[in-house]
Structures are given as structure tokens and as C-alpha cells.
Subunit: 442 residues, 2 copies
């Protein structure tokens, strides 16, 4: 049968990939809980009506179907709209500000490509119900601490504000709708450079003098305070932009208060981010080792979460794309490179020694060592060593008739190939010491 | 809108429920890895063809739909059929015996009821590609160690073998198809009692003498060796049943070798389990504190996993139903009863003290303490204490002008209501000590 395979764009994650993915998720979960975020899980399936009317052209990508009672259902395409539903549905049980994280798959019927999947996993973290710039700072700090905890050697978070981009675009003199072209042009700065953006601006109907002003503004760089001072001066006539500068000043001060190193963030007036629903801070994390794009981004979106509750519920958040992080970490060799879960493999010399080997495996497990037990009392030791090696175990243990008589265990280090007789009662300690030693001197 | 809610039978898990669910999953994962199992994740969506033709009447419960290219897709209804697909598709990359675990949601369009959901989460563990009774024993040991690790105070695993049930049923003299009625009758023993089962057997066409023999056999109880001896003697004419007794003897010996306490398992000839695909060992864990049913079960199914690979791939495994475990643990108050993730809540006395409070929060987090930071420099302390309490934090910390001048921090224990001034440099240690103390004397 041709279809006995996975659907294109919906991937199987075999053990080696899964171990890295689990490491990523566990790390993010740990950092989130360090910041007091709480877990939420909503179903993968929602009423289609909940999801519709929010994605524009992309709505055609939603997987929709009818259930057994003829109700119109859909697979969620992100975890933000379900969050809005949860916030409306359980209003009485949730106390704001509410820090929640959520992890799970979402679905879009896109054409699969490198880095673009039909089933993709996201880890979202949002602070719901607070307009405070401290909330913005906590989210950026969470991002920064998460990437550091994952082992990214250097990265920087670009910070901007929707109303700074707005102020810059308003220089064009175009109305709010036409200004969309200006946003899109600015957003491509890193790809097109100044000349490319100038061309796009002129094509959008911006006059040449305004275009130069815009280009100058989006290229401002430097220490956050200096950039903000300059934006403040040059956008002084735009009330909303001035308020945005005040907001970014508070966020930057809080980042310093939270101990986030200054090298890890910068104000980038060129950062637009595509999504129209952002209302305040926008940000993106990048690393020079991955020039193909950003690692992830987020921002403040004060109008989206309250859409079902029918009131404004100010919210700031981000989504880690697990597939993207996985791809990048695998390519850059960041994080653990495990080949399996087991540290020790207990062989079985023969049927007579099986009970003793089982007891040894049980003792290692009780001591917290991940241990595989051979299932084949009648297989030769050579074959069992090969299996131990293939499973990525570091040590293979042998309890033959001689060892049982002498009260010891042969421990073979599958990495170095050496082997040693260790007293039966000291095996757990011996392995523990060897592991600590090899962690200390890699 | 009426449909701004979750679909019935597909549940939202709010933080308190999620914390227990995550505890369950993390515990199972840890025990699995202790036994050398490796994680696998396959997509939630499969080609409908992969899933069809295996569920009998229940096939109508599958959620099916067409994708954007007109392909027939379906939501998986378990993680076993996808495992069979993975085993066929990646044959070259998988070395048997392969111990894999998998966690995720599955879907069935059933009528929702207490304990029966349309979206349900399972944690599966299987040993693929080994006919060894050691593999059976490892799975039963894994079950036993998992329930112990989750904190179940007492439980027992009922063990039986498909061919012992088969041998008992063959006493009826009915052919293999008609014997299905006998299996079903025996399976209801715990519900109907001897009289009820006798009635069902007679109704199935079993003659009265055979019915009495069957009833006597399914009621055999005692030490595993004694039960097996008696089954051996009374089914001596049935070759398959005799081989099954030999197999169970090896499994029970291995359980003892693996150090599983004898009180945690028993041979139960009455255990039939519904699923026709079991070929060897079958088992179920029960606890007297939950008389409504079994906690979970599993067994050996040697023909299912090789169905796409077109060869027999002997496999033994089990599936923990997370929803069932969650319901039972919640009701029996087993496991942690967390109200939130945060230990400490750092208040902000006023705008002047905000930076100092942020630095304190950052220090607590760096020390590994889950810490919430107030987002409202202008809210009163009373309101902030209330928020800390509502979030389940144990301690609220205050850094006011006096504390800053004196170099200390007020720590309020929200459980006891007492508060204390602690030197700024000693706060982390003080909280750590208080937590250890309250763990030691609950």
C-alpha cells in the first residue's frame, strides 16, 4: 500500500530527535515555572466557528471537518485563539494577571518545505490581563533566559514598538491603510538593504524626502538610551510614537532591573513583524550563527485575547517554535547529543545467571541509573555487547559463573573499550563515579 | 455565540489539573527511561487507510476528513496502529528488541460520559521484537514501579495468559468462534459473580457440567506457583494451555528476579480482557480503593505490530490512560496537590523600590526558586499579598524604604501568616531552609 507512511509535513520523531525535543520542552517549562507561569492545555480540536474569521487569506489552510453529529470542527492552527476562548469561558476562575504556558501541536495545510510543517509544535508563554511594562519585560527576560538555558552561545533580542513603526510610517503622509506597504517595506530591511527598501517605499507612493527620513530612522543603532533619545527627538510631533518611547524606556529599565545582560537586547526601529494584531512592544531573537531568520518572536497584543470576552484584555507573549529550535540546535550542535536513554546494559551470561543479572539491573535502576536488561539468556555476550553499543549505553555489565563465585561484576566501558572487575557491592558507586568523572573531563 | 466553548468530551485542563497531569506524565517518563525505554512521537493525523479495518464496529468512531489535496485523513484512535506503521516504515533504522514509549492524545467520537472522553491522552510503553518472557516481566515490572512511583498505596497486577483462558474456554467444547461468548462471560466474573457467569455460560450453549468446571477453574486463587500447578494439572490435556503455564512460570520467576514484591502481582485465571489481539500474557492493575474498574492493563500481542511489515513482530506492552489516572489520583488524593507553580511572590512597594524588587526576584530565580514578580508598582501591599495567596505562593517578600535602608527583606509566610525580617543576603538560604523544614515536618 502506498499510503502506509506518514503524511507529508507531519513528521515522525524517532528517539534521537525526540530526546532533543524533550530537552527543549523541559527546559522551556522549567524556565517558565521559574517565572511563575502555569500550564494550560486546551484540546487540539475546536469548533470551526471559534477559529474562523481571524486568519484572512490563510483561513483556507485550516483543517476542517464534520463530527459524527454533523458539527463543524477544526484542528487549531495556533494556541492563541484557543487561549482567547479559554479566557472567555472560564473568566470566573482565572485571576489576572495570569501567566500561562502551553505546549502542543497545531495544524496548517501548507505546502511542506524545509522548516515549514503541516503539524508543528509550539510552546507559548503569555501574561494575560496586564498592561504593565513590567509584564513586557518579564516576557523578554523569559525569552532571554530560555535561550541561554538551551545553550545558545550568543543571541540578541531586537525590541521595537508598534507605534514607533507607526510613527515612522506616518512620516510618509500616507493614510493608515496605505501605510501597510510602508510597514512591509521596512520589515524587509535586513533582506533588501537600504536601496531595496527605498525602491519599495517610492513604489508605495512615498515621496523621496519622506523616504529618506524613514530610511534614516529605521537605521538608527546604538545603546538603547541613545536610540530612544534620538527616536524621541525625531518623532516628537507624533504623540503615539512619543508614548511608545516612554513605554520602551520602562521596559528597558525593567530588563536591567531583572539582570538581563545589556548585550542580549537592543532597540531596532526597523523591526516591524508581520502580524497586524500587535499593539505595543514587538521583539525577535536572532543569532549570527543562524542567518536564515529569527529564532522566534512575540509582542504585545491587547485586543486579541478579549475578542470572545468582548472587552480589551491586555496581553503580551511569545511562541517558541519547537520545530525551528530543534532544526537550529541540531544544525549548530547545541544541547545534548544523546543516542539513547540508557547508561548501563546488563548482559545475561546464561540461563543459570539470569536471576542474578535481573537483581543487578533492578539495583542499578533503584539507584537512579537508566538500565537496559538483556532479554536473551541464550544469546552470546558478543551479540549482547553489540546491542548495548547500538542502544548508546556507556557500560555493559557481565555476571558470569566466575564473577558470581568471586562476588564481583565485569564492567566494560563501551566508549573506551576497557573493562574492569568491580566488587558486586560497589558497582553502583563505581558507575556513578565514572559518570561524574567523564562529565568533569569531557 | 453558542459555540464559543470547548467541544463536549474534549477538555480544557486548567493549571491545577495540568500540574497533576504533568506530574503523572513526568513520573511515567522517568520510570520508562529507568528501564531504557526511548521516546517516539508520531503525528496525531494519519492517512485514514492506515487506521481502517482494525476496529470492527468501533471504526465508525474514527474522526475522518479530507485534506486540501483531497487525501483521506483521520485522527488516530490509539498509538498502537501508528507504532505498527512506524515499525514498517523505518525498519532499517530500528534495532529490535526496541523499547519505546509514546505520549499524546487520541480521538474517538463516542458519547462523552464520566471517564470517557473524545480526546484522551495515553502514555504507551512497548517492547517491540522480542518473544522473551523477560520482556513480559519487564513490562509488568514497569507497570508496578510506575504505580508505586505515582504514590498508589496498594495495588495488585492480575496476570493471566490468553491460552489459559483459551484452555478454560475449550472445556466448553464450543468451537473457537462460539467460545467468544465464554470469554465474555468469564471477563464479567468480578461484576456478575459465579451465579451470573454460570447463567451466561448456559445461555451461550455450554453444558452444565462444563460450566461447573469452567467456574471452578476461573476461581482458583493463591500463591502464583500453587495456582500455576493447579492450572497445569487441570488443563494437562490442552497443549496450548500447558505451554501458557510454562510461559507464566518464566514471567513470574523474572518478576521475582527483578525485585517486584510478591504482594504486587497474582495469577488470576478469570482475567480475560476484551481485546481479541492479545496472543500471550494479559494483565490488569487494580486497587481496592477504586472498585469501579482497573487502573490500566496490557499484554502481549504478537501479530498486530507486524501487520504492515507483513511479518510477525512479537510485542508486549501497556497503555496508561492519563485521564483515568488523573481522575483516580484526584479522587483518592494521591500525588501532589499543587495550587500553582510559584514558591515566592516579590511585591513592589512603590515605583522607587521597583528596581530593587526586580533584582531580588531575579536572584531568587537564579537560585532555582519559582518566583512571581508583582507587575504593579502602584498597587497597595494588601492587594499584592492577596494576589500572592491566590497564586498559591508560600512566601510574599517586601522591600520597602525601611528594608532597603536596613539591608533586609520582610518575608511573610502566607501559610502561617507570620512575618520576619531577614538579612537581604540571606533570603535565598532562609527560604530554602523553610521549605526543607516544612517538607520534613508536613
Amino acid at each position: 500500500m502506498a499510503t502506509i507512511q506518514n503524511i507529508k509535513g507531519m513528521r515522525d520523531h524517532l528517539p534521537q530527535a525526540m530526546l532533543l525535543r524533550q530537552h527543549i520542552v523541559t527546559t522551556l517549562q522549567q524556565v517558565c515555572e521559574r517565572y511563575g507561569f502555569e500550564p494550560l492545555q486546551s484540546p487540539v480540536v475546536e469548533y470551526a466557528e471559534v477559529l474562523e474569521g481571524k486568519l484572512g487569506d490563510d483561513e483556507k489552510l485550516i483543517y476542517r471537518f464534520e463530527d459524527h453529529g454533523g458539527r463543524r470542527l477544526a484542528l487549531r492552527y495556533d494556541q492563541t485563539v484557543p487561549l482567547a476562548r479559554v479566557v472567555a469561558q472560564y473568566a470566573g476562575q482565572l485571576a489576572f494577571p495570569w501567566r500561562r504556558y502551553a505546549y502542543g501541536p497545531s495544524y496548517r495545510g501548507e505546502r511542506p518545505a524545509r522548516g515549514r510543517y503541516r503539524e508543528f509544535y509550539q510552546f507559548d508563554a503569555d501574561i494575560v490581563g496586564s498592561p504593565s511594562p513590567l509584564a513586557d519585560a518579564e516576557i523578554v527576560a523569559l525569552l532571554s533566559e530560555s535561550l541561554a538555558a538551551l545553550g545558545f552561545p550568543d543571541f540578541v533580542t531586537l525590541l521595537n514598538h508598534r507605534q514607533i513603526i507607526g510613527g515612522i510610517a506616518r512620516i510618509s503622509g500616507l493614510d493608515e491603510t496605505a501605510a501597510g506597504g510602508v510597514y512591509r517595506a521596512i520589515d524587509k530591511f535586513d533582506k533588501l538593504g537600504a536601496d531595496g527598501v527605498r525602491e519599495e517605499l517610492l513604489r508605495s507612493g512615498v515621496d523621496p524626502a519622506a523616504a529618506e527620513q524613514i530610511l534614516a530612522l529605521v537605521q538608527i543603532e546604538g545603546e538603547p538610551q541613545a536610540v530612544l533619545d534620538e527616536l524621541d527627538a525625531r518623532l516628537a510631533n507624533d504623540e503615539r510614537a512619543v508614548a511608545a518611547v516612554v513605554n520602551l524606556r520602562a521596559i528597558v529599565a525593567a530588563l536591567a532591573g531583572l539582570g538581563i545582560p545589556a548585550a542580549r537586547y537592543t532597540i531596532a526601529p526597523r523591526l516591524a513583524r508581520g502580524l497586524a494584531y500587535y499593539t505595543g512592544l514587538v521583539f525577535e531573537a536572532i543569532t549570527p550563527h543562524w542567518p536564515e531568520g529569527s529564532l522566534l518572536g512575540g509582542g504585545r497584543y491587547d485586543e486579541l485575547i478579549g475578542q470572545f470576552a468582548k472587552r480589551s484584555i491586555p496581553t503580551v507573549g511569545l511562541a517558541f517554535g519547537i520545530d525551528r529550535l530543534h532544526d537550529v540546535m541540531e544544525q549548530l550542535k547545541i544541547g545534548p547529543q544523546p543516542t539513547g536513554t540508557a547508561v548501563a546494559f546488563v548482559t545475561i551470561f546464561g540461563p543459570e545467571q539470569a536471576q542474578a543479572s535481573m537483581a543487578l539491573a533492578s539495583e542499578l535502576r533503584a539507584a537512579g541509573l537508566n538500565t537496559l536488561l538483556s532479554l536473551e539468556p541464550n544469546a552470546g555476550l558478543g551479540k549482547q555487547f553489540k546491542e548495548a553499543d547500538r542502544k548508546g549505553a556507556r557500560f555493559a555489565l557481565v555476571l558470569g559463573p566466575d564473577e558470581l563465585a568471586q562476588g564481583d561484576v565485569v564492567v566494560k566501558d563501551l566508549r573506551s573499550g576497557t573493562q574492569e572487575s568491580v566488587a558486586r557491592g560497589a558497582v553502583v558507586e563505581w558507575i556513578g563515579n565514572s559518570l561524574n568523572l567523564s562529565t568533569a573531563t569531557p
